[in-house]
Structures are given as structure tokens and as C-alpha cells.
């Protein structure tokens, strides 16, 4: 079942990522919404997922054997909606209507565990991918689920931690340090790989080799930069909150267009 992906697989993930970035800054500008930075840090991984990894079919969105993707860091929703639109689930023009980020942190991994368990017990081939933020690794419920998945051998589950090192009020290391993060996931029983979350070949290689260890769930710790791709947004807490104004939008789009 790779046929539905052909349309997008023809396009390199890098080009798709660039378009997603343009959508994200345009959407947050139009909707005057926050979290542009957090959406930009996951774009390359979403481009890879929706550009070829996820076995999904926009013509049959409820296909039971499909892979699942959950954006647990719901505040990155602008990027996910853009990816869904580019994947053909709804028209790109409908992105005009997307004006809010959603989600309470620490929920996604548990739901993903339930979906992965359903797939495992029903003997389905589907995988479940869930994108977590670094900030939501503060939530106890994330670690309840992190304990659960290896115990139940959910090797069809892939958790991707968008480790952009900035959370709501500052740097992760200053607010509630997660280090050593990879060791934590390893010690919980996950197969862990650390990657540069903006290097398409690295993302492709990691997603192409799950499960990293047989019978274990996989955790990709993606080192990313908040606001990636727009120079004045990169690694800057301000863009957790501010939407770009008209001039900033123009500048951001010009930068993104000019990028390789």
C-alpha cells in the first residue's frame, strides 16, 4: 500500500518543507495566532512523514490499516494542518480557516499507546507516530505512557521529541532540565536515536529504520531550532507568542523563498 503516497513522494521533502514553512508564517500572520516558532521547528519532520513515510490515503481517511500521526504538541498545529492540506486531505485554500492552535500537553503519547496497542492486538501492520514537545516531557502523564509502551512491546509506536530547547517561559535547561533525555527514554525501555531534526536525510534514515530495536517502541529525539528557517525567529522565545506583522511576514516569506 504505497500507491496513495506517490503524488507526494515525487516531490523532495525539502521542497515540501519550504512550502510548509511559507504556509505556517502566512497562517499565523493572518490568524494573529501564536506559536509560529514551535510550528517551524517540526516542519522538516512533518515533510518527511507526510512526504513518504506515513501510509495514509487522503481519499480514504478512515482506512483501518492506515498509519496514525498524533501531534501531541498541539501548539504546533499550524504546521500539521499545512502538511495535511499539502497531502491532499483538504484544499490548501482551506488553510485560511485555520486560526487556532489546540491541545493540552501530555495527552498524545497515551492516546498513541492505545492506538498502537489496538493495532498490535488486531495484528494490523499500521504504525503510530506521535510528535511530542520537549516542554511536555515535564508532564507526568507523558512518563506514565513512556513506561507503558515498552512494557507492552509496542514496536509499532514511534515517539518523536521536538527538542528545540525552549519552552513557554524560557530555556528548558533553566526551567526544568530534561537531561540526560536520551538516557531517560533508553532506561524506560525505548529504542532511542538522536538526530538533527532539520536534516532531511537524517530524518529519513531514522524513520526508515524503525523499530530501532526489535519488540521495543522507538523514540527519535530530534534536535531542532525553534523558528527554524526564518532568521529573526530562530531560537527566540518571542516567537512562541507573537504573530508576524505585515512587514515581518514579507521578510520571512522572502527569506524562505530565497533559501536553497
Amino acid at each position: 500500500m504505497t500507491e496513495p503516497l506517490k503524488r507526494m513522494a515525487r516531490e523532495p521533502a525539502k521542497t515540501l518543507a519550504k512550502r510548509l514553512r511559507c504556509h505556517v508564517v502566512t497562517m499565523t500572520h493572518r490568524a494573529r495566532s501564536s506559536h509560529v516558532g514551535t510550528a517551524l521547528s517540526i516542519v522538516d519532520m512533518l515533510a518527511m512523514l507526510y512526504g513518504g513515510v506515513l501510509r495514509v490515503d487522503p481519499r480514504e481517511p478512515e482506512w483501518p490499516d492506515r498509519d496514525r500521526f498524533l501531534l501531541s504538541k498541539g501548539h504546533g498545529a499550524a504546521a500539521a494542518y499545512a502538511a495535511l492540506a499539502e497531502a491532499g486531505f483538504f484544499p490548501v485554500s482551506d488553510l485560511d480557516g485555520v486560526d487556532a492552535s489546540i491541545g493540552s500537553l501530555g495527552h498524545g503519547l497515551a492516546i498513541a499507546c492505545g492506538m498502537a496497542l489496538a493495532g498490535q492486538r488486531d495484528g494490523r501492520p499500521s504504525r503510530v507516530y506521535v510528535m511530542l514537545s520537549d516542554g511536555e516531557c515535564d508532564e507526568g502523564s507523558t512518563w506514565e505512557a513512556a513506561l507503558f509502551a515498552p512494557h507492552h512491546h509496542l514496536d509499532n509506536l514511534v515517539a518523536m521529541v521536538d527538542y528545540n530547547k525552549i519552552q513557554s517561559l524560557g530555556r528548558v535547561e533553566d526551567i526544568l532540565d530534561l537531561e540526560p533525555l536520551a538516557e531517560k527514554w533508553k532506561s524506560f525501555g525505548w529504542g532511542v536515536r538522536e538526530i538533527d531534526g532539520h536534516r532531511i536525510p537524517a530524518i529519513a534514515a531514522a524513520l526508515g529504520s524503525v523499530p530501532f530495536e526489535p519488540t521495543r517502541p522507538s523514540c527519535i529525539i530530534a534536535h531542532t531550532v525553534k523558528g527554524k528557517g526564518v532568521s529573526f525567529m530562530e531560537d527566540n522565545l518571542l516567537w512562541h507568542y507573537r504573530p508576524p506583522d505585515d512587514t515581518e511576514l514579507e521578510k520571512a516569506l522572502a527569506e524562505l523563498e530565497a533559501a536553497e
Binding site: 492486538r121 502523564s141 513506561l147
Partner: protein, 312 residues
């Protein structure tokens, strides 16, 4: 009630292979038959109710009918945001079952007294809230919530509740059961207070007061027609619940009465005060301490009847 629940769930699971039972490391000597008969549809998530509820939502979104099971406040208050966002917002087919509600775990103290759960689950969108009044209703309610799509909360007593009904009872979600008829007074009881309501009615009958007893096993959606009918036909309505008088059955009935012109009589909520108890003791002791024994309820009702009589 818990054995009526598990017996019924076992029967249902024989013919419905979508049924899952997910427990939060409780249910010793209750859930084992299910775990043995259906190991692929049983799951003990450990002491982790937030994860239990999230996992249940994930399973339900993949087509399962998922019963989460724990005691007192653990499957409800401990994970209320997971219930709201993961279950209710997705209208997921999750049935939350709590055993030992109200003061049933009396001596274990306030942490184990589930006395606000009806209010909290009732206020969440998409929920159905059912508190069966005896083991017969508990079995029927288990069947009913399994068949009803969407989030349901099944609030059970612990064990040894007296039978109120014969073996067959017509149980429909959202329809009160008239256990006794009468038009002097209407006692509307939910959950474990049903047996008390019946005994109160029997005692009042000896004093010449004819009481209607409604088993309001479904707190949401409330049988408003039964409430309005009681308001038209009887002189006083009294609600009975092993729950705070804020937000539960009493509040739900009060909301209906406050918005109608048809109420002609008196109204009183009997339940627990919205306060933490400073008392320590077993179930029956605590119920009596809060006026929820038969004598206590009769004592609260008598002045109401006097007033209703003099008003006429």
C-alpha cells in the same frame, strides 16, 4: 454491584469482540475471570489513571468499546482532563466505571470518598452519567452503556447492596423507573440511595403518607418528564444521593424545577454537604452521620410535609 457488573461484562464480551476492559491496578477477585477468558482484550495499565484514560481513548478511536475500571475518584477526578479532551472531545467510545462511590470506602477517608464525581462528569459535554440503584439495575446499566455510543460514566456501589427490583426490570437510559407510586411526596433517588428511599417510603406509608419513589439511575440525560410529572402530581419532591448536594442529582432536578411554572410543591435536596468530613468511620456510620440513614431521611422530610400540608 461490582459482581453484577463484571458478570454482565463477561456475557457481553462473549458476543461483542470489540469490548475491552482496562483497569488501573485494582479489581482483585473481581476482574480475574475477564482477564482469563479474554486476555487479548484485558489490560492492566498499572497505577496510572491518566494513561489508562488516554490509552482507552486511543483504543476506542480504533473501534473498541473500552471500559476503564477503578475505584472511588481514581478513574474520574484523577484524570478529568483526559476524560474531557481525549474521551469527550473525541466522543470516544469509553465507558468509565467506578466502584465504591459515595462513602462506600468509609474508613479509608476523604481521599476515597467519591462525592463530587457526578457533578464533574455531568458537566462535561457528550457524557452519559448512570448510577444504578441496585445489582439488577447495575447489570442492566452495564448492558445499556455498552450499547450506547460515546462516553458514559457508570457509578457503582461496592458490594452487598440490597436488591430493590425483581429479576426483571425495564431499564432504559434517561428513563426513571417508578418503584412505588404515590402523590403526597416524590422521592427521587439515584445510585446507592435507592434502597433507602424505598424503606423511607414504607415507613412514611405507615404514617399515612403515600410516596412515589423514582429510581433516577440516569443523572444525565435527566428524565425531565418524570421530574415535571412529579412536580405536577405530588406536594413535595426530595432528591436522595450519596454525593454532594452541589452539582449532582439534586442540582439537576433543581435546574428543571427552577425553569418550570408547573412546580407547585416543596423541594429539598438530601445528600452530603459540600465539605470534607472530619468524621472517621464505616459506610453506614458516615451515612447516618450525614442524615442519609432511613431515620435521618424521614427526619428531614417530616418538616417538609408539614409545610406542604399547611401551604395547601
Amino acid at each position: 454491584m461490582r459482581s453484577a457488573f463484571i458478570r454482565t461484562l463477561l456475557e457481553l464480551a462473549e458476543t461483542n469482540d470489540r469490548i475491552f476492559l482496562v483497569v488501573g491496578d485494582v479489581g482483585f477477585s473481581v476482574v480475574e475471570p475477564f482477564a482469563e477468558r479474554f486476555p487479548k482484550r484485558f489490560l492492566n495499565v498499572g497505577v496510572a489513571e491518566q494513561n489508562m484514560t488516554g490509552v482507552a481513548a486511543g483504543l476506542a478511536l480504533c473501534g473498541k468499546v473500552v471500559f476503564t475500571y477503578s475505584i472511588a475518584n481514581f478513574p474520574t477526578l484523577r484524570c478529568v482532563e483526559q476524560i474531557r479532551n481525549d474521551v469527550c472531545y473525541h466522543n470516544a467510545n469509553v465507558k468509565i466505571v467506578s466502584v465504591g462511590c459515595g462513602l462506600a470506602y468509609g474508613a479509608l477517608g476523604v481521599t476515597h470518598h467519591a462525592t463530587e464525581d457526578l457533578a464533574i462528569i455531568r458537566v462535561l459535554p457528550n457524557t452519559t452519567v448512570v448510577a444504578p440503584g441496585d445489582p439488577v439495575e447495575a447489570a442492566a446499566a452495564t448492558r445499556a452503556v455498552a450499547e450506547r455510543p460515546g462516553p458514559c460514566y457508570l457509578r457503582l456501589g461496592r458490594s452487598g447492596e440490597p436488591l430493590v427490583h425483581g429479576p426483571r426490570v425495564e431499564f432504559r437510559i434517561g428513563r426513571a423507573i417508578t418503584v412505588r407510586d404515590g402523590d403526597d411526596l416524590c422521592l427521587i433517588a439515584t445510585g446507592t440511595m435507592l434502597a433507602t428511599a424505598v424503606r423511607v417510603a414504607e415507613q412514611l406509608e405507615r404514617e399515612g403518607v403515600r410516596s412515589r419513589v423514582l429510581s433516577m439511575h440516569t443523572v444525565k440525560p435527566l428524565d425531565t418528564e418524570a421530574v415535571l410529572q412529579a412536580a405536577r402530581e405530588t406536594s413535595a419532591i426530595v432528591t436522595l444521593e450519596e454525593h454532594s448536594i452541589v452539582g449532582g442529582l439534586g442540582s439537576a432536578v433543581a435546574e428543571v424545577l427552577a425553569e418550570t411554572n408547573e412546580a407547585r410543591g416543596r423541594f429539598k435536596r438530601l445528600g452530603l454537604p459540600p465539605a470534607f468530613t472530619a468524621r472517621v468511620g464505616g459506610h453506614e456510620y458516615l451515612k447516618a452521620a450525614y442524615g442519609l440513614s432511613v431515620e435521618g431521611v424521614v427526619g428531614s422530610i417530616e418538616p417538609l410535609l408539614e409545610r406542604a400540608k399547611s401551604a395547601r
